[in-house]
């Protein structure tokens, strides 16, 4: 199984490399891996239905307990039929859809194939973390496919919205997975399902996982990314945003229903959110004029329906889910592909502009009608069969009846927007000019024809469908029931509901124009898209606000904050830990006193100095004072170095000061903040003084390293000056490092100084040349005049 998944990705990689030349021929090649996956799944169908699913496991990080686990069970088989089956057809369709060799065509082939691969991996995954990895990979594929080349602002926004919303859900879901996996001790889904965990942690995990499922399957209030994603080319919308990827959320809930069978609120939450989504999607679909948007809201509505069924956890509910998954995949893919054809051949997909296509494209129309029948639930299609099962699920009283009413209402809307779609796309409208259309190539019509036929065949050959669906439902619900998918169950309540739905839906469609007028007057207090934009807007505002306040861009402020942090954190620790200062005394050597006085006075002078040269000279005084301190403290080598370096520094400063203005520039704003600066600096100084006292007092044993140096200096290096021995012998490598620092600095200084000198020289040269040319030009003019004369 892993090999099949990887082969998708490898072929996609190869295609992206060779697609530069043969942009049309690559689509049939890209269809090969999904075909192989489909054949492989069908070949194993018998053993899957018999209850012995093929399993692959690969431990790729044994120490962390991470593995790739794949398992082809009934649900995975159903989803593979959708993912790979529709994948093959969509890829073949793309060959016609992306006519001219465009950048989109080249990119889309390999991306679509990669998407088919990760989606295949997602439905097979038997490990929560494996599932998560493929889940996010589908999100990334979706982002790239919606965004396309990223040229148009609309597609950038749509793809970003899809990415942000689904990734947000994905991350929350990952958290849920971890809570679930850690609390129950395993991440293997089949093991979890065999022994459903219980407890508060699982209840929390369920909530988190549902967020992921709801964002991916575009449930209210996360639904808006799906219609926005319709900016993608139609085959991509058909595949990702109708037939496969958006079903991942529903699939996840169905996958985890047996695992979370102890969580009592799961069916309630999925029913509530699902019904609201179903109704809202259908309602919005009745208002759209763009056929694709109409279908997108239809998809949202259907996903809500599927979510209700997936969470039900009952045998009949899961039976209906399996039927509905197949039905929705088939009819929605068909309709999207048909709309793609219409858009491609006429150049528009606006209901208000299309007219008379039914007569111009009879075959396309019949394909669309077949799929629409399935969508509306007209016998003998699979849509009807599955919807009957759904109506059967919620026969009852109380809350169950409320769900039933919700499903019926949603289905009425479904019928209504189906009628609106068919009429709007193909009917001849009064007073409208029939739309011009190019003839439809047979190859382009073939894929939707196959899926449309599937709508019919799955319904007519219901025993076959039932075998698949019933096997899944029994395993998912853990019990078997009386009900089976079928076209005829006698005169019963579901049949009545189906008839009512059809009748009411058609009536609603007939009066839709008046309804829309009414709807436009209704206030819209809540709008998901506006909410999303507001949230994004305020996030950006917050980012600007935080950055504006934190990154003020002023170096003194930053340094002041760092200094304050030093004072607050180590400073408070220093104050709280009362370490006794031992042997407190004023001085060790009387000479320290005058030196200290000189240094402090010079330091005060530097602060007050307004002339640069004064400040520099006073710093020199400090430096020599420090040298004196070194001598008193027993460091003649240090003192020698200090005097030498101080002298050199002074010379360097004086060389530069020659060119700088004599006084420091004073800005008026600097005067205002002088006091806080003084206070912070003084506090810093006090902190260092105290720290020096306390730290040096805390040390109780002399350095062992120094003792060893003192001991071995004479015999090891035959030097009596131990400091010298350390620098040139014991720690000679450090000295080499120090030398290289000097070399680097010297290079830097030289380049800075020399570059300014060469710039000056260039400037001179340029002005020389300008003078030259200024004198030369008049002569050239004279020549010219003479020539013309």
């Amino acid at each position: 199984m892993l090999a099949l998944v990887v082969s998708h990705l490898l072929v996609a990689l190869v295609l992206s490399l060779v697609s530069m030349r043969h942009s049309r021929a690559i689509y049939p090649v890209a269809a090969l891996p999904p075909t192989a996956a489909l054949c492989w799944a069908l070949a194993h169908a018998d053993s899957v239905l018999a209850g012995s699913p093929p399993v692959t496991r690969m431990n790729w990080s044994a120490t962390l307990g991470l593995e790739f686990a794949f398992r082809l069970d009934t649900l995975a088989l159903v989803m593979t039929l959708l993912v790979s089956g529709i994948g093959v057809l969509v890829l073949l369709y793309c060959r016609w859809y992306f006519g001219t060799p465009s950048g989109d065509a080249k990119r889309s082939a390999s991306l679509l194939l990669a998407f088919a691969g990760v989606m295949f991996g997602l439905v097979l995954a038997d490990d929560l973390l494996t599932l998560y990895v493929f889940w996010e990979l589908t999100t990334i594929c979706s982002f790239l496919l919606v965004g396309q080349s990223g040229v148009s602002r609309e597609s950038r926004r749509a793809s970003l919205q899809a990415l942000l919303v689904t990734t947000l859900g994905g991350l929350v879901m990952l958290l849920g997975f971890i809570v679930l996996g850690e609390s129950s001790g395993t991440y293997r889904i089949s093991e979890l399902a065999a022994d459903p965990p219980d407890g508060a942690a699982v209840a929390v995990a369920t909530g988190l996982i549902l967020v992921g499922a709801f964002t991916k399957s575009a449930q209210v209030p996360f639904h808006n990314w799906l219609p926005a994603a319709m900016v993608a080319p139609t085959p991509i919308s058909a595949y990702l945003h109708a037939a496969s990827m958006v079903k991942a959320g529903v699939f996840l809930v169905a996958r985890l229903t047996p695992v979370l069978s102890e969580v009592s609120y799961l069916p309630v939450v999925t029913a509530v959110f699902g019904l609201v989504t179903m109704f809202l999607g259908g309602w919005r679909a009745l208002r759209e004029h763009d056929l694709k948007l109409l279908l997108a809201y239809g998809t949202v509505s259907q996903l809500g329906f599927l979510m209700v069924l997936a969470g039900s956890g009952s045998y009949t509910g899961e039976l209906a889910l399996a039927g509905m998954l197949l039905a929705h995949g088939a009819f929605k893919a068909t309709l999207f592909l048909v709309i793609g054809i219409v858009d491609h051949q006429t150049g528009t997909r606006d209901i208000r502009e299309l007219s008379g296509l039914g007569r111009r494209m009879p075959w396309v129309t019949s394909v669309a009608v077949l799929a629409a029948m399935s969508m509306a639930g007209v016998p003998p299609t699979i849509g009807f069969v599955a919807k009957e099962a759904a109506f059967e699920t919620y026969l009852g009283t109380g809350a169950v009846a409320a769900v039933e009413a919700g499903i019926v209402a949603g289905s009425v809307l479904t019928v209504a927007y189906t009628a609106r779609l068919l009429f709007g796309c193909f009917a001849s409208k009064r007073g409208a000019v029939p739309t011009e259309a190019h003839p439809v190539p047979a190859g382009m019509l073939l894929p939707p024809a196959v899926t449309a036929l599937a709508c019919l065949v799955l319904g007519v050959a219901y025993p076959l469908t039932d075998e698949l669906a019933a096997t899944y439902a029994e395993r998912a619900a853990g019990s078997s029931g009386e009900y089976h998918l079928g076209l005829w169950h006698g005169f019963n309540q579901p049949l009545v509901f189906s008839a009512v739905t059809l009748f009411a839906g058609l009536t609603l469609a007939a009066h839709n124009a008046r309804l829309n007028l009414l709807r436009s007057r209704l206030p819209r207090p809540l709008d998901a898209q506006r909410g999303y934009e507001r949230i994004m807007g305020s996030l950006e505002r917050l980012a600007v606000g935080v950055t504006g306040r934190v990154q003020v861009g002023s170096l003194p402020t930053y340094l002041g904050i760092i200094l304050l942090a030093v004072l607050v954190v180590p400073g408070s620790v220093l104050l709280m830990r009362v370490t006794p200062i031992e042997q407190l005394r004023w001085w060790d050597n009387v000479l320290q006193l005058p030196l200290a006085l000189v240094i402090l006075v010079a330091a005060a002078g530097v602060v007050r100095a307004t002339r640069r040269i004064t400040a520099v000279l006073l710093v020199g005084v400090i430096g020599y004072g420090i040298g004196g301190m070194f001598i008193v403290g027993g460091g003649p080598d240090l003192a020698l170095t200090q005097f030498l370096v101080e002298t050199l520094t002074l010379i360097a400063f004086v060389l530069v000061l020659r060119r700088l203005p004599a006084r420091f520039t004073e800005t008026p704003s600097a005067r205002r903040v002088r006091l806080p600066k003084v206070l912070v600096s003084l506090a810093g100084g006090v902190f260092v003084g105290f720290a020096a006292l306390i730290f040096s007092s805390a040390r109780d044993t002399p350095s062992r390293v120094s003792a060893e140096y003192l001991e071995h200096a004479e015999e090891g290096t035959s030097a009596t000056n131990v400091v010298n021995a350390i620098i040139v012998d014991f720690r000679a490598f450090d000295t080499v490092g120090e030398l290289s620092v000097l070399a680097v600095t010297a290079t830097g200084v030289a380049s800075l100084v020399l570059s300014s000198r060469s710039a000056r020289r260039r400037k001179h040269a340029r002005s020389d040349w300008r003078q030259l040319s200024a004198t030369a030009r008049p002569t050239a003019g004279e020549h010219g005049e003479r020539g013309s004369a």
Binding site: V544, E582, I626, T641, V645, G748
Partner: protein
């Protein structure tokens, strides 16, 4: 026995305070002087850390080892002095170059950050307008 005496603690405090204050200034030259003074303070601290009481040079043969100053911090301070010198000259060259290119040696606010602050102010100003715009869009 190694505690720094009070005079030296005051000198250290004074040097660091001066260094910090100069570091907080706008003039690059003052900042540079601040770094130099901080360097002096740090070197002094290093040497004092070895113990200021036994103040004889670590030269073998002159005095018993017990009375010698600790050679290791001295070696470190020596290295530090040289590195500080390197740093100083490099910063000096930078300050010089900055003055040549810009005509002053002020450390100015980051342009990009200033732009962000301006944007923030504009956004705060425009917030109410956007609010109205969104409302009118929703009722459309």
């Amino acid at each position: 026995m190694n505690t720094v005496n009070l005079t030296m603690a005051v000198v250290l405090g004074g040097l660091y305070a001066t260094g910090f204050y100069l570091l907080l200034q706008r003039s690059l030259m003052r900042v540079l002087l601040g770094i130099v003074i901080l360097g002096h303070g740090a070197n002094l601290l290093l040497q004092l850390a070895g113990g200021s009481q036994a103040g004889r040079p670590p030269m073998l043969g002159d005095v018993p080892i017990g009375q010698m100053a600790d050679p290791l911090p001295q070696a470190m301070a020596l290295t530090a002095i040289v590195i500080t010198f390197a740093l100083t000259t490099f910063l000096l060259a930078l300050a010089y170059r900055a003055w040549q290119l810009l005509g002053h040696d002020e450390v100015q606010d980051d342009v990009e950050d200033r732009r962000i602050r301006r944007l923030e102010a504009e956004l705060a100003h425009a917030d109410e307008e956007t609010e109205q715009e969104l409302d009118s869009e929703a009722t459309r």
